[in-house]
Structure formats: C-alpha cells, structure tokens
C-alpha cells in the first residue's frame, strides 16, 4: 500500500529533518539518478529538475498525518521543514521497505545546501552530455546563480562520491 509514498517517508526519516521544498525535490531526484527506486517523474523547470508528482505525494503525506510540514518565514519568502511523524513511523513499519544504503545517502546529502543540490541535480539532468556541455548548460540555464568554477568542480566531485551509494 502506497509504496512510493513510503519510500519518500523513509528518506525523510533517515535524513532526520529536511529543510526546504526545493531541497527535498533535489534529494529525491539525485537518489533516483543513482538508482534508488523512487518512481516520481521529473522534468526540467526553472529551478532544475522538478517533480509535480512528488509535490503532490508530499501534500498527501502531510494530509494523512505521516509527515509534518512546518512553514516559517525566511527573508522574503516562506520555507518549509519536513519531519516524519509517529503515524508515519508506524506506517513505515508495516511497509516492509528494503532500501539498503538509504540512511547513509540521506544523511550525507542532507548536509549539502539547496543551492549546491540544484547544481548537482542540473548536472545530473544533462549527464548524457560531455562535461563541457554540462557546464555550458549550467551557465546557460542557471546564469543568474553565477556558479563558480570551484562550485562546479565540487559538484562533479560529489557526483563521483555518490557512486558509493549506487543501487
């Protein structure tokens, strides 16, 4: 029952708390790219890979009381925090999910900033291109974010590191 929801809940549980909708979007996208069995469909939006399906599933989990969403004002906009509730934990217990390495992955990626994950996920979105073409895409599509060479290099290094979690 609701297996795809349960996988998202497992990631939130393992991460402890996820701050930011955009961050959660990118975390699941990156997890999917390294073959964790998330099923949400992504396509490219203004801020990189985005899944409307994931947004809807999170709303459903909040409405079911499995995930708690806290809205807080930050600067000129609202930010959202996500944690798993007790009901969510109970639900996961009967879900019998088996996702090895998810905990290590979730803890690791949750340490990264939303901006960095936007860069990583954008590079991964174009991973069928050469590295030069990937960088060009970042500059073309994310020009306003002014990613530095160091950041891009770190992002490529991180993508290499992610291979340890490949399913």
């Amino acid at each position: 029952m609701l297996n795809d929801h349960a996988k998202i809940m497992a990631l939130i549980r393992d991460a402890g708390e996820v701050i930011g909708r955009k961050k959660l979007q990118k975390m699941i996208y990156i997890a999917k790219k390294i073959n964790f069995p998330f099923q949400e469909r992504y396509n490219f939006h203004f801020y990189g890979p985005y899944s409307e399906e994931l947004t809807l599933r999170i709303e459903e989990m909040c409405n079911l009381g499995f995930v708690a969403e806290t809205k807080e004002k930050k600067g000129g906009y609202f930010q959202y925090r996500y944690v798993l509730t007790e009901a969510g934990s109970n639900f996961l217990e009967i879900s019998h999910l088996h996702m090895p390495k998810l905990k290590e992955f979730s803890l690791d990626i949750n340490e990264k900033s939303s901006r960095f994950l936007e860069l990583v996920s954008t590079l991964l979105y174009f991973d069928h291109l050469t590295q030069e073409e990937q960088i060009e895409k970042v500059h073309t599509l994310k020009g306003k974010l002014n990613y530095s060479e160091t950041e891009i290099s770190e992002a490529f290094d991180y993508i290499e590191q992610l291979k340890q979690f490949i399913q």
Binding site: L2, R21, R41, N43, L56, Y77, F91
Partner: protein
C-alpha cells in the same frame, strides 16, 4: 532553406469548434502538420479513458495540438514589436507549440506507468530522430530540431519562449481547458481567453499580465480548479484507468510467464521487453490497443478476459474513500480475505491516489518551486497573483488530496462462492 521559412501562397484554415478557425500561413507549419507522426495524433484521444464518463470526450491530441499552435500564433501576434520579444523565435515557438505532445502514446498515462516509458523522451526522439518531422525541421536549419526539442523540454536558453508553452498559464493549458470543457460538455472550463491574450506582456524570463486583466486571469484559475475536480479527477474515469492499467499489467505478466496467447500480441512485444524502437512506438495508437482488448476477451486467462470485458462493456470497479492513515491495519486483512475468496488482489484491489494523476493546481511558487503568475502594475512592478486576488488566494496551493479504493463489487455480491469471506470483505470496505 528559404522556401521552408517562407509563406504559403494562400493561408490555410482548419475549422475548429473552440477557436473557430486555426490559421496556417507558414510553410514549415503546414509541412509539419502533414507528417505521419503528426497525423498519428488523430488516433490518440486527448483525455484517454474520460470518454467512458463523458461520452463527448472523443477529441484527440491532433485537435489539441492545432489549438495550442493557434493560441501561440495569437500570442506572438500580440508580442510582435514589444520589448523583450525576439521575432526570430517565432517559428521555434510555433513549431514547439504544434509538436509539444507529439511523443504521447495511446492511453499514455497508464502506458507510461506499466511499461516505464516517458512521452517527453519520445517527443525528443521523434523530433531529433529518424522521422518525417525531423526531416521537415532540418530544412529550417541544422540546429532547428534541437531548438524545438529544447523548448518543449524546458531547457531552452530563452525562458520567455519556454514559459509560453509551459508555465502556470500557457498556450497548452489555455487550449486544453477550453477544449476539454467543450467536448465533455461541462460548463466550467470557459474563461475569457481573448482578454488574457490582450493583457499578456513579454518580460525577459516570462509572460506577465497587466493588472487590469486580473479578473480574466482569476477566471482562468477558477476554470482550472473546477475542471480538475469535475472532469480530470472524476472517480469513474479513475476506475476505467485502473482497469486499463491492470489489463496492461496482466498481459505483460502473462507474456513474461510464456503464456500462449491465442493471437500473438506482436505490437506489444517490444513494450513487454522494454526495448521499444521509434518505429515500433509510432505504430502504436488507440485503435491497435482497442483491437487487442477485443481479442483478449476470448483468452483462456480468466483475469485478462474479465478485465477486458469490464473495459469494453464499461463494467467498471466501484470505489470507497480510503484513508491509509486510519485504515492501514485494514489493508493486510483485505489482501488476505481477497486471496481467501480467490480474487487476486494484485488486479482487483487497487488504491488510487490523487497524486497518480498528472494535473496540477495553481501554486503561488513559494520557495522557488514553480514560477507563479505575475501581474504588471501600471507603475511597472510585478506582483504575484495570489497576493492581489482574494479569489485566487482562497484556492491556490490548497489542493484536496484523496485516496480511493477500487474493487469489483459485482464479484463480491455474487455469493455463490465464498459467501462468508465476501461478506467480511464488504464489512471492511463499507464500515
């Protein structure tokens, strides 16, 4: 190259019930419409199984694609000469509008889930691969197919161009809301598109709307909201979609078990193997699928036979509201009871969630998720729609979510076998 970029000697028009006329003057557009890949869209319904609920909903992706093109043509006509609009993008925009759905397959929502395909990927392959469309587009420039593909994939450098076909108020949505309302016969999907087009203005990264036109935009948001619940999310359509998915799932399962079909489902082989070539994909349409659903009614396999009869004769599953939070302990009991009653729960007990459907609500775009709709004030400032409009504020981002449990009530009501177990199932379902 110059010829394809030129105009036809005389304008061609298509009669259209939504826009009255669709005007084609560009030779490139005319040739694209004539390609076999575009003509294939005549055989793919716009709303999939919705015709089983709203019998008028037989319109196709062909009609819709022409409609999106026409709206785009009118947007561009309005933008011509305005700041931020580059007239060199005109044909890219028109081609992308016309071809934005070219990768859709038959009943694509269910197909994509069962066979792990993606219409956006097929769109890219049709535009960039070996197709008549690619041949026509290449006449406009060697990089022209890539440009069109990037616009549709939302990875084109000019974000204004992308926003015209894919944003919270774009040519695609403006056509499908009106067209789906017209063909389903409901009264909700109508809004004043003429007014919206008149107040639309280009900016560097997206189209915005003069504040004086706010009420027309409000009307559009309301239409979207109403259509969602009244048409797109209709529980009977969801039931048909559930059965369709289960037919495909069963056929795939049988193939993998080396089941001997009475007639070899040759059109499905590459789908079942998930090794679909472009040529195979383009052969698929709804006529082919419905043909198999007819002949599978005669199959020995009890489940495939039954599901096909249900789909063809509209003997759909019934449903109850289901709350996975409150009823999580009922689920394993139901699975067990279905098995005891010799009803395979894999095919006959299905939870369908609101997130399983591809339609969305207006979101104000908080925290940089999606770009919201902006109003342009007389002073030149941009303001997010839901902060200016009480009506939009009241409904935006507040999506009701639901989960329904679908099952064959007719089988449960047949008490010639497993009477006690079936009564226990019904007691759980209708408690």
């Amino acid at each position: 190259m110059s010829d394809i970029l030129g105009k036809l000697e005389e304008e061609k028009v298509f009669k259209d019930p939504v826009h009255r006329y669709i005007h084609v003057r560009d030779r490139l557009i005319w040739e694209l419409i004539g390609t076999r890949e575009f003509q294939r869209l005549r055989r793919i319904r716009q709303l999939g199984t919705t015709y089983l609920t709203f019998h008028g909903a037989e319109h196709t992706r062909f009609n819709h694609s022409l409609g999106v093109y026409e709206i785009m043509r009118r947007i561009i006509e309005n933008f011509n000469g305005r700041e931020h609009w580059d007239e060199n993008e005109r044909l890219v925009c028109l081609s992308a509008a016309l071809l934005h759905d070219i990768g859709h397959g038959p009943f694509s929502h269910s197909f994509e889930k069962v066979f792990n395909t993606d219409h956006e990927e097929w769109t890219r392959r049709i535009i960039l691969g070996s197709s008549e469309i690619n041949l026509v587009l290449r006449k406009a420039g060697s990089d022209f197919p890539e440009k069109v593909s990037n616009v549709i994939a939302k990875t084109y450098a000019n974000k204004l161009v992308v926003s015209l076909i894919s944003s919270q108020i774009d040519a695609d949505r403006m056509d499908y809301l009106q067209r789906d309302a017209y063909y389903t016969g409901v009264s909700y999907g109508h809004f004043d598109m003429e007014r919206i087009l008149r107040v639309m203005r280009p900016t560097e990264e997206q189209a915005v709307f003069k504040q004086s036109g706010m009420h027309a935009v409000e009307d559009y948001i309301m239409s979207r909201y109403q259509m969602y619940w009244q048409v797109y999310f209709h529980p009977v359509t969801r039931s048909a979609e559930v059965i369709l998915s289960k037919i495909l799932q069963r056929a795939k399962h049988l193939y993998q078990q080396n089941y001997q079909f009475k007639q070899a489902p040759v059109h499905f082989y590459s789908l079942f193997n998930e090794k679909l070539s472009l040529a195979d994909y383009l052969k698929l349409d709804e006529a082919i699928i419905m043909y198999y659903f007819q002949i599978w009614q005669d199959e020995e396999d009890r489940i495939l036979h039954d599901l096909c009869v249900r789909f063809n004769d509209r003997k759909l599953f019934k449903y109850v509201e289901f709350n996975p939070s409150k009823q999580m302990n009922d689920w394993p009991k139901l699975i067990d009871l279905f098995r005891q009653a010799n009803i395979d729960p894999e095919y006959y007990l299905v939870i369908d969630s609101s997130s399983d459907l591809p339609y969305d609500f207006y979101r104000p775009g908080e925290e940089e998720e999606r770009i919201p709709i902006f109003l342009l004030t007389p002073a030149g400032d941009l303001r997010e729609l839901s902060r200016e409009s009480d009506v939009v504020e009241a409904i935006s981002g507040k999506k009701r979510t639901d989960h329904k449990l679908y099952f064959p009530l007719d089988i449960l009501n047949d008490e010639t076998e497993y009477k006690d177990v079936k009564r226990q199932i019904k007691a759980l379902l209708f408690k």
